[in-house]
């Protein structure tokens, strides 16, 4: 029985707060979870939930108050273990006096790769993150999105078995995000394990084998997206337009939301055909009829209900 890729046991982190640093604030409370090899695991939670704290603990940037963690059976204290992992920090920043190529080469040296091997990998990964054209440019000239790509490149360059990505999509435009998604799927195809934190739920839904939801430092729920989200039908959504010169029934209009010429209404499944008839008699133009099912977002909101108001990027049309 081989060890899981990532094993977190009772990981806890307290920070001293207050003027005299006497009181303790618990930013991570007894986190326990396991990630199997080859899984893409999403670590979700609102801002301040403790996601970044968890990742920093795993990387040995901060030290736990109690608890342990292991990667393929090796403790996170073990520096040699880090050969097999790659890390992308949140809002990465790199030595701005180096060029992209030089930075990747520099980091590659820590993995003990030979010169020729390094050269090849640097080029390949620059290509992969779409920065081949700016390899010679100093990082001080890079935009946030470009730095994010460099960050991804340095994390995957040495073909690590496990990737730890902190908000890999942040700062990227939709094209960039699609590329990152493809990279993650590619890594999965190669059999690597990916552990990433995000607050963009639609990405998680699409990419992850399993997710965990963190809130106020505590693990609130964990499981595969399609398991934890019930498949019950919540209702039906109808998109329609009014015909020129024709009025729509007032009762319907009350319950509908309007955007420009378009209307949207949600009705229980049982009322579907009655509503469609009403619209037909007003000669409204039906644009679409879609079943409404609970999403990860609903599951999520349920879990974190009562906590600080989270900020979410809600994707339009990403379902």
């Amino acid at each position: 029985m081989s060890s899981p890729a990532i094993e977190i046991l009772g990981l806890t982190k307290d920070y001293p707060v207050g003027f005299w640093r006497k009181r303790m604030r618990r930013s991570l409370d007894n986190l326990t979870l396991q990630v199997e090899e080859g899984e893409v695991f999403g670590f979700l939670g609102p801002n301040g939930a403790g996601k970044t704290t968890t990742l920093k603990l795993l990387m040995g940037l901060i030290f736990p108050t109690s608890g342990t963690a292991r990667v393929f059976g090796r403790s996170i204290d073990d520096v040699a273990m880090r050969r097999d992992i790659g890390y992308l920090p949140e809002q990465p920043y790199f030595y701005d006096y180096l060029t992209a190529r030089e930075l990747l080469d520099y980091y590659a040296r820590f993995s003990g790769l030979g010169a020729a091997d390094r050269r090849a990998r640097v080029e390949k990964n620059l290509e992969r993150v779409g920065l081949a054209a700016v390899g010679k440019v100093q990082l001080r000239k890079f935009s946030k999105g470009m730095l994010q790509r460099v960050g991804i490149a340095q994390a995957i360059l040495h073909d690590p078995k496990v990737l730890f990505l902190d908000e890999p999509m942040s700062g990227l435009d939709p094209v960039g995000r699609r590329e990152v998604r493809d990279i993650i799927l590619d890594l999965k195809r190669q059999g690597r394990t990916v552990f990433f934190s995000t607050h963009i739920l639609s990405d998680a839904e699409m990419l992850c084998d399993r997710v965990a939801v963190l809130h106020s430092g505590k693990l609130q729920g964990m499981g595969a997206p399609n398991e934890i989200v019930s498949i019950e039908l919540l209702g039906m959504e109808i998109l329609f337009e009014a015909a020129a010169g024709r009025h729509l029934p007032a009762a319907l209009l009350e319950r509908a939301t309007q955007t420009g010429a378009r209307y949207r209404i949600e009705v229980p499944e049982a009322d579907l055909y009655a509503t469609l008839d009403q619209l037909k008699s007003s000669a409204a133009r039906i644009l679409s009829v879609t079943p409404v099912r609970p999403t990860l977002e609903d599951y999520f909101f349920r879990l974190v209900k009562g906590g600080p108001a989270p900020s979410y990027a809600v994707e339009v049309g990403a379902r």
Partner: protein, 294 residues
């Protein structure tokens, strides 16, 4: 807290650092021994001139003056009493100190005594002492003690009675000049080199100085003077003895047995006086008392 157990750098540091410091201290002592023998020329020899240092000290003059004063005392303290001591740097050190702080009276006074004092207790350079004190007077014209020191130098070291008298007179005219200085001026002019005058000067010095080195030195001189007086008294008794017994006494014991003395007299260090074949009293050979020379 199982993760803490692996904190090797911390434990290595805690264990190794004390040992390393012991090694460092030992090494430092070795370095000091190498570079510090009294006749080894070190950086001090390459003392910058006072004027240059004043420019470089950027307003921290008095601090540096204190520094050099400390070094002067140390320099003297390390060397005095050693067999091959020389005090070549004493004047330069005092020069730098007083250039940086022209009002450091203690430095002038120290120089007056120990620059003029012959080896092995001083540099034996009365000329430099006079120069130093004169400079001190120029910068501190109302300080009577400096005139007193100048007077001492002229009187005792140089036997220059007219200048000595003038120094004491000038000193008596300062705002706090004590009355005795006028007396001294007159006395010196009149009597020149006499034991009494010398005693006055040294007693005054002994009572007014705050410098423990100078005090000790004045006490030594006074002891020597006392010995001289004792000896001249004993010489008189010795002549009396000869008139009575036709020969000089062999020792003070004879004088006591002849009831010319009540007991056996001892010098200020506690050693009994001896009497020579010529009937003249002198100090016991082992006595540390030094007789001043007129």
């Amino acid at each position: 807290m199982s993760l803490r157990a692996k904190n090797r750098p911390l434990w290595t540091a805690l264990v190794a650092i004390p040992f390393l410091f012991v090694a460092i201290a030992t090494l430092q002592q070795r370095i000091d021994a190498e570079t510090r023998p009294p006749d080894n020329q070190k950086e001090e020899l390459l003392l910058p001139s006072g004027a240059l240092l004043k420019k470089l000290s950027m307003g921290y003059d008095s601090l540096f003056a204190d520094l050099y004063w400390t070094r002067t005392i140390q320099y003297y303290g390390e060397r005095v009493g050693t067999r091959h001591a020389n005090f070549d740097l004493l004047y330069p050190l005092l020069d730098v100190t007083t250039t940086l702080d022209p009002n450091m009276i203690a430095a002038y006074r120290f120089g007056a005594i120990f620059l003029s004092e012959p080896l092995p207790l001083g540099a034996g350079r009365t000329d430099l002492a006079v120069e130093l004190v004169k400079r001190g007077i120029k910068e501190n014209s109302d300080d009577w003690a400096l005139y007193s020191d100048l007077g001492f130098l002229y009187y005792w070291r140089l036997k220059d009675y007219p200048n000595a008298a003038k120094a004491y007179l000038d000193g008596s005219k300062t705002s706090e000049g004590p009355g005795w200085m006028k007396l001294m001026a007159a006395r010196v002019a009149e009597k020149g080199g006499s034991a009494e005058t010398a005693r006055m000067i040294w007693t005054e010095l002994y009572q007014t100085t705050k410098d423990p080195n100078v005090r000790k030195w004045a006490a030594t001189q006074l002891d020597g003077l006392a010995a001289l007086e004792d000896e001249s008294h004993l010489n008189v008794l010795s002549e009396q003895y000869r008139k009575l017994f036709g020969r000089y006494p062999a020792s003070t014991k004879d004088l006591r047995d002849a009831r010319l003395l009540a007991g056996i007299p001892v010098d200020p260090a506690g050693y009994p006086y001896a009497i020579g074949e010529d009937g003249k009293a002198h100090l016991a050979p082992e006595s540390p008392v030094q007789e001043p020379k007129f």
